[in-house]
């Protein structure tokens, strides 16, 4: 076992599948955005907004997001631990079980089987599959870390462990349910407890699946791309631990002004604001790591992705706490401002880092430079502009919507009917369609670049020399 080489074949496979699911997520996202402006594009019972929207979110989070996590973690853990994966067979099982789980999720959601819990819509048999999948992944990563040849653990490994443990706990607790049949279950919690547990899961899934893993990637791929170390490893450790101590208390900010006890709402609000510190600890660490290297923003396309990615993380973690404050939440909650916020995080922060990570991996897993750097640059501008069109139009829409909902006549009656507020949204929803199309054009260019690199490149048959030398 000690003489085995690094396993890059599994990284290649996860890159491929994550990108396929990413395309599904964006394509379905664009379709549902058109369904919002053209209701005739809904074809009941299967191809309606209600059924397609969870496919968009789940394909995005679990197919694209988690797929990239699997690809990058399986690469990073081998490199940072200077040892091959603990089990290649387990990794292979993980790959096919991952795809089986995503397909089962998509099919059942399309058929209308849902728990109705946002971001956790899949019914209990698929929850069981997800838990098996995650345990297989966790065992491989943890065992590889345990047999590492490097004494100290670099910060990326800390974030990886946090993500693995965090997702396991959050998902299992929120999945607790009483099955009534093969495709129907009832939550183990009732009333406000159910809502509270659900948003404890919901917001912390953002933390453990869409914050900790991209940070692990950022801390690994930024210095690898610039060739200089991060500004401060100690700062990254403190930012890590403060994030871990604070994040888990913030979920109830999704439930402000609801029957959830006031003290829980206040607690969530307070911790949400405090979260600015660890988030910006990482942002500053990223920026300060660029001291003397800012010219690389022009020279190295990877740096553009990584620095814009961490910038969107910074903006996201300022906007998020702002939204978690009661008075501001009262204004914008339930408006289109909220999806704009989420999409700055997913299309800006998470995907920028994911694209950069995959571009970094390509020459190493295919043994050939990226097919076209100009195309990678073009993709950067398309996804940046697409995301900005998407988010900015819906921020404006959200403020307009909130203003109209709150407008009152002198006699206390509402100034606008709900339908009037809906009609005002149309120009912004069309802009969202446009933003989605531009973003998808960028994604298609990315896939073409990846395909051509794979086709013209020569797959690296593991880094045998490196592994043998370090085993």
């Amino acid at each position: 076992m000690e003489n085995r080489a690094y396993n890059y074949a599994i990284v290649r496979s996860f890159v491929t599948w994550s990108v396929i699911w990413g395309l599904v997520a964006v394509l379905v996202g664009v379709i549902v955005s058109f369904q919002m402006v053209e209701p005739d594009l809904n074809f009941p019972p299967y191809l309606t907004f209600g059924r397609l929207r969870p496919i968009h979110t789940n394909a995005g989070i679990y197919g694209w997001g988690v797929g990239v996590i699997f690809a990058t973690f399986l690469y990073i853990v081998q490199r940072l631990c200077k040892t091959p994966l603990w089990s290649d067979k387990l990794a292979k099982f993980q790959l096919w079980f991952f795809n089986a789980t995503i397909i089962a999720s998509a099919v059942t959601l399309l058929l209308g089987y849902t728990t109705s819990k946002e971001y956790h819509e899949m019914e209990w048999p698929i929850d069981v599959m997800i838990i098996i999948l995650w345990v297989a992944f966790a065992i491989n990563i943890v065992m590889t870390i345990l047999k590492r040849k490097e004494e100290q653990m670099y910060i990326s490994l800390w974030y990886m462990l946090a993500a693995i443990i965090g997702v396991a706990i959050l998902f299992t607790v929120n999945a607790a349910a009483v099955p009534a049949s093969l495709f129907k279950s009832y939550s183990a919690y009732a009333g406000t407890n159910d809502a509270n547990v659900h948003w404890w899961f919901g917001h912390n899934a953002v933390a453990m699946a869409l914050t900790a893993p991209p940070l692990a990637m950022f801390y690994y791929f930024l210095p690898k791309s610039t060739g200089v170390p991060i500004y401060s490893h100690r700062l990254s450790i403190i930012a890590f631990w403060s994030l871990i101590f604070m994040y888990l208390w913030t979920g109830a900010h999704h439930l402000l002004w609801t029957p959830v006890p006031d003290w829980i709402q206040t607690l969530a609000m307070g911790f949400s604001v405090m979260l600015i510190a660890p988030s910006w600890g990482s942002v500053f660490n990223g920026y300060l790591s660029m001291n003397g290297q800012w010219h690389q923003m022009r020279d190295n396309y990877l740096i553009k992705y990584l620095i814009l990615g961490i910038t969107f993380y910074g903006l996201q973690t300022l906007q998020g706490p702002m939204q978690a404050i009661r008075t501001f939440s009262a204004f914008i909650h339930y408006t289109d401002w909220v999806p704009a916020h989420i999409h700055m995080g997913t299309m800006g922060w998470v995907s920028m880092i994911s694209f950069a990570s995959i571009y970094f991996l390509l020459p190493r897993i295919y043994g050939k430079e990226v097919y076209s750097i100009p195309l990678a640059n073009l993709q950067f501008w398309l996804i940046l502009v697409g995301q900005l069109i998407w988010s900015i139009s819906l921020w404006i829409a959200g403020v307009l919507q909130a203003g109209m909902w709150n407008a009152m006549n002198p006699d206390g009656s509402l100034t606008f009917t709900f339908m009037e507020t809906m009609v005002e949204m149309y120009p912004y929803w069309w802009a969202r369609c446009l933003g989605g199309l531009v973003y998808m054009a960028g994604l298609i260019i990315f896939i073409y670049n990846l395909y051509m690199t794979a086709k013209k490149g020569k797959p690296t048959v593991n880094n045998a020399a490196a592994a043998a030398g370090r085993a």
Partner: protein, 46 residues
Amino acid sequence: MDLSSALYLGVTFGLFVVFLLIVIRTYSKKRKEEGERAKYRMLDDD
């Protein structure tokens, strides 16, 4: 204060102390070099 409230308070205080100890340990002058070593080592692995 009932038992559960005291327990919550104790756990909160305990977690705060743990965090404080992590900060003190990470930023102790004696451990400065060791604390920053990983960022250089990670660049060696390629």
